[in-house]
């Protein structure tokens, strides 16, 4: 199993959700978060006083999938989240040791 962490632009969330649904992904966890990469932050000006805001609002999507779904999942996220402009985000992949469905006690791929 793999944990896929995708940091994306917030307004791309719905498209990413639909793309993942279309390849049969059953669930995901979504978190509003802040951060920066090469895009850096932005500047706000109030009555002439400038404030540099370092962190951009981003959305973090976490998906756990079986090993054979991993490549398709990454492909779906990229296809939906890509604008081609700086700040599109990152995808990280981690190995997952186990997963348990709390209701039934099913384990591993069965729990996804």
């Amino acid at each position: 199993m793999k944990l896929i962490i995708a940091i994306i632009k917030p307004f791309k969330l719905d498209e990413v959700r639909d793309a993942l649904g279309a390849i049969g992904i059953q669930g995901m966890t979504v978190t509003e978060c802040k951060g920066f990469g090469r895009q850096r932050g932005h500047t706000e000006v109030y009555r002439g006083a400038e404030y540099v805001v370092d962190f951009q609002p981003k959305t973090k999507v976490e998906i756990v999938v079986s090993d054979d779904q991993c490549a398709a999942t990454i492909e779906a996220v990229i296809s939906a989240a890509k604008t081609g402009k700086i700040g599109d985000g990152k995808i990280m992949v981690q190995a997952v040791e186990n997963a348990v469905r709390i209701r039934t006690g099913e384990q591993g791929d069965q729990a996804l």
Partner: protein, 449 residues
Amino acid sequence: MTRPRIRTLARDGVPLLACFAALAWPAVARAEDAFDSGDTAWVLTSTALVLFMTLPGLALFYGGLVRTKNVLSVLMQCFALASLVTLLWLVCGYSLAFDGTGMQEGVTSLSSFIGGLSRLFMRGVTPDTPSGSIPEILFFVFQMTFAIITPALIVGTFAERMKFSATLVFSAVWLLVVYAPICHMTWGGGGSFFADMGVFDFAGGIVVHITAGVSALIACIVIGPRRGFPTTPMPPHNMTMCVIGTGMLWVGWYGFNGGSALAANGNAAMAITVTQISAATAAFTWMSIEWVVNGKPSMLGLATGAIAGLAAVTPASGFVGPIGGFSIGLASGFLCYLASTTAKRALGYDDSLDVFGVHGVGGFVGTVLAGVFAAGVFGGLEGDLAVGRQVGVQLLAAIITVAYTAAATFVILKLVDLSVGLRIDEEGESRGLDLSLHNEVGYNLETGR
């Protein structure tokens, strides 16, 4: 008109027998019949509009500009001051501002500077007591709304760090020591100091905006900057709230300036017209300067410009025509922008919500320019006004007000600091005034709560 008369007599506690006696003598005219119902209706309406400027207009305007952790403290200062000033105005504020006992036109005496004590607790005022063409009780409550907004304007300067108790004590003393005498000197009628000088202040450029603005400058210097200023970012936490408040202030200003005609007539109509023109001009001016200087126009700039134009046209509104409204808007939009941005940064004081830059500077500019644009040659309503002399009079009154207000405010603040203390401690300031002083938070937005 029999029925209202019965009601009035009954309310006055006149015995039933006397009611019948009055009915039997229709020739006995009651003062109520002397009121102009049109004037009374407009000033009643204006009273509500001006209170609406503070509750909740100014409260929202200021509340949106502070940080999340201090939003309630600012809302609360505005609402608490409305209550406090109401009581003070009833007890003695109105009397000290408007009791003209002993005044004589052209004679300078103590009563030229401060009102008497014959109106404490509105003594002797019934619904039938006239003040011009309206009931005196209406004049009392209309003026009360002005007395409420003036100290409330000042709280913007020491937002996010002044103790609530200190705010109340300072404002109470300030109302009686600064507002009441300046109000009396300006609007006390023949025999009051500025009135005898021939000063034009239609709706409170001197009485409201110069006093509030200058006090704000002194207060923010005495109390010192917010911790972290200017290196820590302190952006407005809710611009939407701020803009809603601005809209309420703008609309309410029709009552502020239009109502100050104390009549439903062409003078009131011209006052609200020039008010609108000045607000629009200053808003557009401020926005345009930002567009050029910063590359982008901002909502806060547009809103602040509108307030600057409204403050500046206040003293002039009943004396100038549309050209005056436009010119005052242009001048105040430009000068208040400079005062609130470039000048403030250069001098380094933390007038947190720009009370001095907007109201002090705007009020001063409008007071002086009223002496120019009141002249008939500029479309003003004062015919062949001697502009040079009038500008001198306006300038002199403004400078006297600045000097007295600054000195008195400084002394009051020092006394408050020695007694209750002006400033919240460092930990309380970093936690935010809402939690530290009021055990509340403005927003409970955590998921699941």
